[in-house]
Amino acid sequence: MERVLTYAEALLEATEQEMERDPSVILFGIGVDDFKGTWGTTKDLHLKFGRDRVFDTPLAEDGMTGVAIGAALAGLRPIHVHIRMDFVLLAMNQIINIAAKSRYMYGGSVSVPLVVRSVIGRSWGQGAQHSQGLHSYFTHVPGLKVVAPSTPYDAKGALTASIRDNDPVMFIEHRLIHFQKGHVPQAPYTVPFGKARILAAGSDVTLVGISYMAVECLRAQHFLSEVGIHAEVIDPVCLAPLDMETILASVAKTRRLIVVDTAWTSCGMSGEIIARVAEHLQGSDRPRLQRMGYEPVTCPTTKNLEDLFYPNPQKIAAAAYSMVHDNGSSWAPKHVDSPEVVQFRGPF
């Protein structure tokens, strides 16, 4: 029987196995050693590895990121956990000015093997400062790898690869994919950087979904199949470096692309993918291209407005339908909240 773990359990397993394998791996962040253990992703690791290697931190994101960089320069492999990506804004100076640049500005004489885990919050009522997907801030800057896997299998493999990498990696999670279940082998393995995964094959339209939106795109793909449209769903897994080959091959086939981000569209990852496709597939037979993401407003807390704020499978399917038919006809499946949204009981 196939071994099934949740995404959160996959993260815990990767961390535990790497800490066992390599004594230079350390883990810290606000609450990593408390009774909740970062939704189970760090639970009880301090009991196994001791509080010198697994520890809570003061509320000092900037300083503690600097501490992580210093420890990395000394040969440790720190994993720094942020329970919300919004909080990483306090650490931008160290991440952008130091972690991303050290190897280059010191002429290759140092390395910063650092993993920064951060979680995009959602559902329900997370609001303005607990909901932001800011991954494009990091993909903008050379010197950072940025991964945002959507399946438990890739979560374990990508986190293992991130911990073993000798350069800084931003590991992007989403609160709602922590619940996802899937096949996860017990033995350690790595998922390579810069390799996208085709989650569903199709020929009519390409749906690229980032992080949790890969899950939502699969649901859209299911709706579309009911009206005879075959969508190909791609999870980039890694945003920097980005596997354009897989996306370009798909768009060359479908001539239609919708990139759905769990972030705003302006100057974001969805625009970046669209731009790279446009640069490569120019000519008379230009592909149809569309970005989808958060509405261009601050995330509200009240449920009815929050529902309008996010992309969802119905919106994605409706957009794909219009793109495929291209004759002004429209269709949308009946709105049903995605199961994680329904099941979420908070408070965080």
Partner: protein
């Protein structure tokens, strides 16, 4: 002077060497061969020298954009430093870092940042790692009074004290953040008090006195190394003789007056320690340093610029 002279020789060699290197940098600067912003330490050498003379080769220092002095005092390679300023491939960062990012891992010089205060937590993290790895080295973080304005300063003090890291905080207080005097920036100018409030014992050393710095810091280094003490903090009062950035003086622009410089110049530590040496010993040191500096500049001049392909290397491993 006998024995005393022997004690002063390494101090004088280090002080004179830094002073003369920077004077040469300033002399060459108008030729535009050095295309890198330079922040000279002239006048402040006593702090870096007084501290680094108490360290061992395996100890680690982190610096600031004004790091020529600490780089050289800790044993950073002079030829590679000058080549770096010239942007040559033989530079300590292959011409990719410049004066503000001097690094020499072999000598324990772990880098310097152009963003004020950012290397302080690196020193804390490095020291935490040394403790975890049970290594006998200690770490020194050099920073200015300007860095004390930054949040990372307070965050670093707290975590260093919390984890009892083997770390020495050295505040080089030259009274100015660029052109802003400390009294315009601090409601309470007691920097040592801030360290003490976070649980890091702190002392202030007046007058830029290299012997006093050497003695008191030396005692602190031994206490940290033996594990008797966690992190310790020194505020070393000093004075930047030159402009904030560049090779010139800046006493005619209204933000400070030349009279402010006078007491510091009257107690110039390079001249003071030199005067404690026998003339022949002093001249011998100076002559050797001059040869070394000439060779370093010749090395930089003769070195090649990086190949175009170097633009793309060192972004990540491999």
């Amino acid at each position: 002077m006998g024995n005393n002279s022997a004690m002063y020789e390494p101090l004088y060699r280090a002080l004179y060497r830094i002073r003369r290197v920077e004077e040469e940098v300033a002399r060459v600067y108008p030729t535009d061969k050095i295309k890198s912003p330079i922040h000279l330490s002239i006048g402040q050498e006593a702090v870096a020298v007084g501290v680094c003379q108490t360290l061992q080769p395996r100890d680690i220092v982190f610096g600031t954009y004004r790091s020529h002095a600490s780089y050289l005092a800790k044993g950073g390679d002079l030829k590679k430093m000058i080549a770096e300023l010239y942007g040559k491939e033989t530079g300590c960062a292959k011409g990719k870092g410049g004066s503000m990012h001097l690094v020499d891992v072999e000598a324990g010089v772990m880098g310097a940042s152009a963003v004020v205060g950012t290397t302080i937590p690196h020193a804390v993290g490095y020291a935490y790692a040394l403790k975890l790895q049970k290594k006998p080295s200690i770490v020194v973080t050099f920073f200015g009074d300007g860095a004390c304005d930054e949040g990372a300063f307070a965050e670093s003090l707290n975590f260093a004290a919390l984890k009892k890291t083997p770390l020495l905080f050295i505040c080089e207080n030259n009274s100015y953040s660029i052109h802003s005097p400390q009294h315009d920036r601090h409601a309470k100018p007691d920097i040592c008090g801030r360290a003490i409030a976070h649980g890091v014992p702190a002392e202030r050393i007046e007058n830029n006195d290299v012997l006093e710095i050497n003695k008191r810091v030396g005692a602190a280094v031994e206490r940290i190394r033996s594990g008797e003490s966690g992190p310790l903090f020194f505020e070393c009062m000093t004075y930047r003789w030159m402009e904030h950035v560049g090779p010139n003086l800046d006493y005619d622009f209204g933000y400070r007056s030349k009279s402010e410089l006078e007491p510091w110049r009257a107690t110039d530590q390079v001249r003071r320690i030199g005067s404690l040496l026998d003339q022949k010993v002093r001249e011998d040191i100076e002559s050797k340093v001059e040869d070394e500096i000439r060779e370093a500049f010749e090395f930089a001049e003769a070195s090649a610029f990086p190949r175009s392909e170097e633009l793309y290397t060192d972004m990540c491993e491999g």
